[in-house]
Symmetry: C2
Subunit: 219 residues, 2 copies
DNA sequence: CGGGGCCTTGACGGATGTCAATCGCGGTGG
DNA sequence: CCACCGCGATTGACATCCGTCAAGGCCCCG
């Protein structure tokens, strides 16, 4: 399911570990790159949350993924990026030149397998997102998203939301209003509460998972 | 968009080219493997069309991809397959043991790049499918699918459909009825015609692409 | 000629999108 | 300190698209 996106893939980048080489700091709303930029590097998120999205000529926007610490951005992009990326919060990322990535992978055979594992993970993530987008109702999507977000942010009861309703909507393939209505509905069911602006508390994770259909079948 | 799925990636598998080693022949409806089977090999399609799909406990089915000659099935699967695969038509596939894949990739550095390119392609395919599933109306999806199918089957005017309406529906995230209605609508618009059972002629590819929103933004 | 898939077509209902009004909160300036 | 403003979120009314259910047609094959 959604909450399995990008899990448990350890960073494999050997490079200049202790140094600050290739580190970029971003404030909230700062762009990391735009669609069409040269994709000579990929990025490993060190801190913060970033947003990867594709904007269409008619204004429609699809958020492809949110990237949390440990995630890779831009893996599998060939010559130029096919999407935009910007920071939702203060964030730090490490740039990984693609050349060094390939060289490292070739020098150390066990890394080749990790590369394949990352590719597999990437593919699985997007497949799971597809299934979510095409087979789940609005409330199931919202519940799935909250479960996913909780896992990615450390399983704490109170989630400080790094993204707006519009971001959630564009990720889940819904409208702002539908997201809002279903968050309200979940609150009415006692599954979550909204302790203050920009945060959500999960009061009944078990039930939230049931609504999200986190049952065995989904992976 | 859709029609860019799996394009222009040449087979990289060196192995016993001229021989018949690892070749499997399938009749229509024959399974290639099931979810949970050992994923020790992936498969390159030589001839025919196969269907990759995931069946859920509640009976819902999501077709993840159709595989045409030149396509790879099972790339990125780790220990066991996470989906079923069967043949829609008579088909031949070449089994590629994963061990030989990794070894080959490591021995020849240019293949590492091809592996990355394949991974990139795979990720892009699924991303495009996500966008289709979550941002397009039914008629846009059907039109996209027909454009995609046409490209994959050699751009001939008359398409002999290898799959049923149910397959199309489960690929596009629609119902059989909605697919049927929109095919009828496209016929009414003069964009396609149905010369006989199991085939479709594209009469106005330009307009079909417009309906599919094959405009520049989509890839 | 009859049967069984598969496909098409119609009627209807419900979930979600659209449009619009309002709320709540934080920032800013008087 | 308070009033105002602006943005995001919420809520409501309504429209629309698509799914559901049901009937019938087409075609292949026995």
């Amino acid at each position: 399911m959604l909450q399995t996106l990008h899990h448990d893939i350890a960073p494999i980048w050997i490079g200049p570990r202790g140094t600050e080489a290739g580190i970029r700091s971003l404030r909230a709303q700062d762009p990391l790159f735009f669609e069409g930029d040269d994709a000579g590097s990929l990025y490993e998120v060190i801190e913060g949350v970033l947003r990867v999205c594709k904007v269409f000529s008619d204004g429609r926007r699809q958020i492809i993924s949110f990237a949390f610490p440990g995630d890779l951005i831009g893996f599998g992009q060939t010559d130029v990026f096919s999407f935009d990326c910007d920071a939702l919060t203060y964030a730090r990322v490490r740039a990984i030149p693609k050349s060094s990535l390939l060289r490292t992978a070739l020098e150390r055979s066990e890394l080749g397998e990790k590369l394949l594992a990352i590719a597999a993970n990437e593919v699985n993530s997007v497949q799971n997102l597809s299934i979510l987008l095409c087979r789940k109702s609005a409330i199931e999507r919202v519940a799935s998203f909250l479960v996913y977000l909780s896992k990615r942010l450390g399983e704490e009861a109170k989630i400080v939301m790094p993204m707006t309703r519009a971001d959630i909507a564009d990720y889940l393939g819904l409208t702002i209003e539908t997201v809002s209505r279903n968050i309200t509905k979940l609150r009415g069911m006692g599954v979550i509460s909204l302790p203050g602006s920009g945060s959500i508390s999960i009061r009944d994770m078990r039930q939230l998972c049931q609504i999200a259909e986190c049952d065995g079948a989904m992976h």
